[in-house]
């Protein structure tokens, strides 16, 4: 049994999934991740973020600086 309060364990495997919310402002951003990932293959990331209406730079950096490494060590 685990109470989902506090910051959780900062393990390399745990933090490597894209965060559900922006660390700074708390906006829910998880739902945009897969669309973002798909679209940046052909479009500039800044334009995609504008389209997704992610305005503040705190949320934008969450996308721009994320590297998906979850489970990579296992493969």
């Amino acid at each position: 049994m685990v109470v989902a309060q506090g910051r959780g364990d900062r393990s390399p495997t745990g933090e490597a999934m894209f965060p559900v919310r922006c660390f700074t402002c708390g906006k829910v951003i998880g739902q945009y991740w897969e669309e973002y990932q798909q679209r940046i293959r052909e479009e500039p990331p800044g334009k995609v973020l504008d389209d997704l209406e992610i305005e503040r730079y705190c949320c934008r950096r969450m996308f721009l600086t994320h590297k998906e490494v979850f489970g990579e060590l296992v493969d």
Partner: protein
């Protein structure tokens, strides 16, 4: 009289002007929206089986952050519920997750006991499972306030700014320096005459006043007009958040007034 004029609104975002109230009131409203609007969020997770790569506590934390659609008429605060905090269908919701890899687990995979209380977005990735990995858990959501944990906060990026009154006096020689200097492009030059065209963008930096050699620009900050903007996490609509926040303020002041009246009688 206070009035509200909505400039922009959609499911997640609102921008409005509130007029005829003091800054004190505007700030109370902002604070009430942040900390006095309860929302549902998972705060207790029973994990029966987790053979995935993510630790139990990280998984529980991620599930906790997922916003749930909240109907405030349907649920009571756990402390104020008739079950006296034990947990009953009118103060908590149970969500189950039972999945097997290979699969990316999304928020939409959570199965709720209450068909109306579902995750606000069904495509938030929670965890990736590989072949043979399994996840079985039961999460319990309850109402809470933003003061306790940010997962209970209904709004984000909630703030207001003063909408000033900018007057350009007759001594203006239309030099155009203010148009150049203003970082927010509040001014524009219309056939050589300087005009204020985008007052909502003004950030009260006073650069235009400083640069004006004729001292022709006057800025009045005490207009009692405020430009509010905020986003919601999806648990309820922006207008609902404003209503709940105002009602909360009203209730608290009513309670306070009642106590004050008792004091004066004694």
């Amino acid at each position: 009289m206070a009035s509200i004029q909505i400039l922009e609104i959609n499911k997640l975002k609102v921008k409005f002007i509130i007029e005829g109230v003091s800054e004190v009131f505007a700030n109370s409203l902002r604070r009430a929206m942040i900390s006095m609007v309860p929302t549902l969020a998972v705060d207790f997770v029973d994990i029966y089986m987790n053979s995935g790569l993510m630790y139990d506590e990280v998984l529980a934390h991620r599930i906790g952050l997922i916003p749930l659609k909240t109907d405030l008429e349907k649920y009571n605060l756990k402390e104020k519920c008739t079950c006296s905090g034990e947990g009953c269908p009118s103060c908590q919701v149970s969500l189950r997750l039972n999945v097997e890899g290979p699969k990316t687990v999304y928020s939409g995979d959570l199965i709720s006991d209450d068909p109306d209380t579902i995750p606000a977005f069904d495509n938030i990735p929670i965890v990736k499972l590989k072949e043979g990995q399994q996840l079985m858990l039961e999460a319990t959501a309850r109402l809470g306030f933003g003061t306790e944990h940010s997962k209970y906060q209904a709004v984000c990026g909630c703030g207001y700014k003063i909408i000033p009154e900018i007057t350009i006096e007759d001594s203006c020689n239309n030099c155009g320096k203010c148009v150049e200097e203003c970082p927010r492009d509040v001014f524009s030059s219309n056939n050589g005459t300087i005009e204020v065209t985008d007052i909502y963008s003004c950030s009260l930096c006073y650069l235009c006043v400083k640069v004006c050699e004729e001292n022709a620009i006057q800025i009045d900050e005490n207009t009692n007009r405020f430009l509010f903007s905020f986003e919601v996490d999806g648990s309820m609509t922006p207008l609902k958040v404003i209503k709940v926040a105002l009602n909360q303020l009203k209730e608290r002041f009513a309670e306070f007034t009642e106590k004050m009246e008792k004091l004066s009688v004694e």
